[in-house]
Symmetry: C2
Subunit: 307 residues, 2 copies
């Protein structure tokens, strides 16, 4: 059992880091727990152009700046995965994978969201051997290969454009009748001349020997199964909030996001706050997550003053 | 009468600029109207250390980066002061000082807040001749002079610390029994050895010939009037939302802030949004204002899709 912290922040993406900067500057005795730094920013394939202050920066570079700024503060940081959160009296107990336990007066959950798996046959088997949820990490491996992106939203098209710099051919499979990415990004994709969009296509199977060599999809118009020879499958069908450790301390909406008071980040449990993509504040954007992280930290500070 | 814009943003601080970046990237035909760029950031005397992405940066440098990023987008920008906003049918009409009128489907009010005047005798008369609301702008003029700061909150102490680099003596006058700035910043002030805090002191008069030469304050303990020989008076007693052009399109809270839905920035008038220090979202911080600006722009985009 360690000392009692004022605040434990769970998560090391933009919301968690911003909360950490603000909390430590308010002199809160703070611990930040996270599996790693960066959250979804490290998986972003295209450069970020909409975070105010940087005309164009990679997700990797921006998160490094965030992390460096956080480490300048007086704050404890441990790269550990949180497995359970409990409230006991007016204290929170936070358990991590190695069985250690930390306690705090307040907690901010800023665990973000994980890529949503497709749950197609072969998907799990070929993770790291052709199946990827991170274009920025794995895209360059597929130089001169054929690859497919599953999902015709903005992130699917962004992934495809990034991949087109390496792969010789990129298929985008979209189960709907039309792709729903913004028009400008669809135009950009078209301009690459390497990207082919297949709508009304439902992935049925990912197959291969040691590595992926092809996929089978259903053509919804003809009801026939069709085969595409591809060596890579990038899944871009959205994300799911990372909340498995939370149990009944919070309420969730239909999308499994934590319901918060958007003015403060307060959840239904006093002293328990949430910020960033894990909660039900709309529009998942870096600057919004960073703003909500600052709010949650200042709200935790106000809560502690009355503790 | 100009073309109909999708969106007119009023204000060129962090909230307005962030809204502009997001709106133009959503392909909204957007006009940004503002007296100037920067809002309160240009008046900030101390470096900013809590905007995620920059370990330490002056308000002036950060706003320049914001402005440069905005000007890279497809957006009309006019440095004009808005005098009136009206709704006519389902369009908004925005009037500027030179009598020109612009129209748009949606409007985001991001006019921020102005320094609150003290309304003490002599204050108006000596503006620009000893009385200042902007330490960063006017502080360096008072090299080797004695100055006073009115207000013992964080911004008063920050101003005093900045001034202590130039002035030979800095008095902080606080009307309450104790100064309410954070402890760490009070300690920093003490360490300069040039700053004297006078609590229970109510400013009664600012006096001089052409320029300020002294102030008279009431000592609340003794009920006596006392005189301080100072050449500068910096007023740091908070700010007031800049909403004079708005009339009855929005509701205000007790602090004269625009009441919004914090999830979207929507005011009581459909299509009219607000973001940043002018609205009732708590915690006035740059990263929070920038996040709220992004939210308001994305909300305006969703509103227009249904227009």
């Amino acid at each position: 059992m360690e000392d009692l912290y004022d605040l434990i922040i769970i998560g090391g993406g933009p919301a968690g880091i911003s909360a950490g900067i603000y909390a430590s500057r308010q002199n809160l005795k703070t611990l930040l727990l996270s599996k790693s730094f960066g959250g979804q920013m490290t998986r972003k394939a295209v450069n970020i152009e909409n975070y105010p202050g940087f005309e164009e920066i990679s997700g990797f570079d921006l998160i490094q700046k965030f992390e460096r700024q956080l480490r300048r503060q007086k704050i404890d940081i441990r790269l550990e995965e949180v497995t359970k959160l409990k409230k006991s009296g007016n204290k929170f107990l936070v358990f991590v994978k190695n069985k250690q336990e930390f306690s705090a007066k307040t907690v901010i959950v800023a665990t973000g969201a994980d890529p949503r798996p497709l749950e197609a046959p072969g998907e799990k088997k070929f993770i790291g051997r052709g199946v990827s949820y991170c274009t920025a990490c794995d895209g360059p491996i597929f130089k001169d290969k054929s690859v497919s992106v599953i999902g015709g939203g903005n992130s699917g098209f962004e992934a495809a454009i990034f991949l087109s710099e390496y792969a010789k051919k990129v298929y985008i499979l979209e189960c709907g009748k039309t792709a729903c990415a913004d028009e400008t990004i669809q135009k950009q994709a078209k301009a690459t001349k390497k990207i082919e969009v297949i709508t009304g296509a439902v992935l049925k199977r990912i197959q291969g020997q040691d590595f992926v060599d092809s996929i089978i999809y259903e053509n919804l118009k003809t009801k026939e199964l069709e085969k595409l020879d591809v060596q890579g499958v990038f899944i871009e069908i959205g994300s799911q909030p990372a909340t498995s450790f939370l149990e009944d301390l919070v309420d969730f909406n239909k999308r499994d996001e934590i319901i918060v008071d958007p003015k403060s980040g307060q959840t239904k449990t006093p002293g328990l706050f949430s910020a960033g993509d894990v909660d039900d504040v709309p529009y998942k954007q870096i600057v919004i997550a960073a703003g909500e992280g600052a709010k949650a930290a200042l709200s935790a500070y106000n809560y502690i003053k009355k503790f």
